[in-house]
């Protein structure tokens, strides 16, 4: 990897990861749902510091240009994040329905007591 590109990549990954760590430490993101974000930040940081890993991964996957491997890794991380979010909000939808029904039943009891 070209040195300038590598420096940009390292800086961008570091900024990205520290922003995520900052958000978690401030309690703005729940750790449970930001694990995937954190994981993606660590992956980018590792790849930017050790670009040889990217080359090795490219050879392993028979991808000619390492930059395509990088895109692949990023896309993989994005898919993982969106998937976990869908799982999370499906759960929440169920919970909201249950809570709303429970509240309606309680309101009814209160009204009749």
């Amino acid at each position: 990897m070209e040195p300038t590109l590598q420096i940009i990549f390292i800086l961008a990954s570091a900024a990205y990861t520290s922003f995520i760590v900052y958000m978690i430490s401030r309690g703005r993101m729940d750790l449970k749902y930001s694990l995937t974000w954190l994981f993606s930040g660590i992956a980018f940081l590792t790849l930017s510091i050790f670009p040889k890993l990217l080359d090795a991964l490219s050879r392993l996957l028979h991808i000619q240009s390492p930059v395509n491997t990088l895109f692949l890794v990023i896309i993989f991380c994005l898919l993982l994040i969106v998937l976990t979010l869908t799982v999370a909000f499906s759960r929440m939808k169920k919970q909201v329905i249950a809570v709303t029904q429970e509240l309606a039943l309680l309101k009814d009891k209160e009204k009749n007591s």
């Binding site: 329905i97 029904q101 509240l103 309606a104 039943l105 309101k107 009814d108």
Partner: protein
Amino acid sequence: MDKVLVIIPCYNEEKNIARVVDGIRTLGGDLDILVVNDSSTDNSLEIIDSLGVKYLDLSCNLGIGGAVQAGFKYARENGYRYAVQLDGDGQHDPFYIRRMKEQIDSGFNFVVGSRFIANQGFQSTQFRRLGIRYFCRLISLLTGNKVTDATSGYRMADRSVIELFAREYPYDYPEPETLVTLLRSRYRIKEIPVVMNRRAEGRSSISAPRSIYYVVKVTLAMLFCYYRSERVT
């Protein structure tokens, strides 16, 4: 308890709900009416309150499935052995509730009011009938049972089905999907002929562009139900 709980999901039915409730009241005392107001944005809640019936007021709009399930939870908690679901728009004639109850008493777990046995009254549009026939075919393919009106929302449950639905109920377009679940789990289902009316006021909840989504979603839901129930049994 020998009473029947009549669950009426209500979303923006200010023009219809009073008439529907009155229609049920003329039938006599063993019917308990429970209107479930699904966060209507019109005057439905005030009207329901003034009618003096039991009602549940949902604070968020849950859609038909969540509203009806709230009714089943009410039925479970209050010990009802019969719960019938009846639309709040006046399509369903409460006259048939007695007949449904007789079927439950003779040993069926679930009774569905079908437009397509006697083929009288409002038969829906040709396009929808095509969709309904398709769902019926799919149900018979998946379960081996014959159903004529897979999307009918006029249905009565016995105690065992009330308990099942209170635990788990799909939150949108629940009708065909729950039929697959019930049939796969060997509940006894009976269809009786009913005459349905065209809705008096307002529009159906399923508009033309949504119908494609409806068919695809319900088909997938039925297949998943089939798959899930196979693993349970």
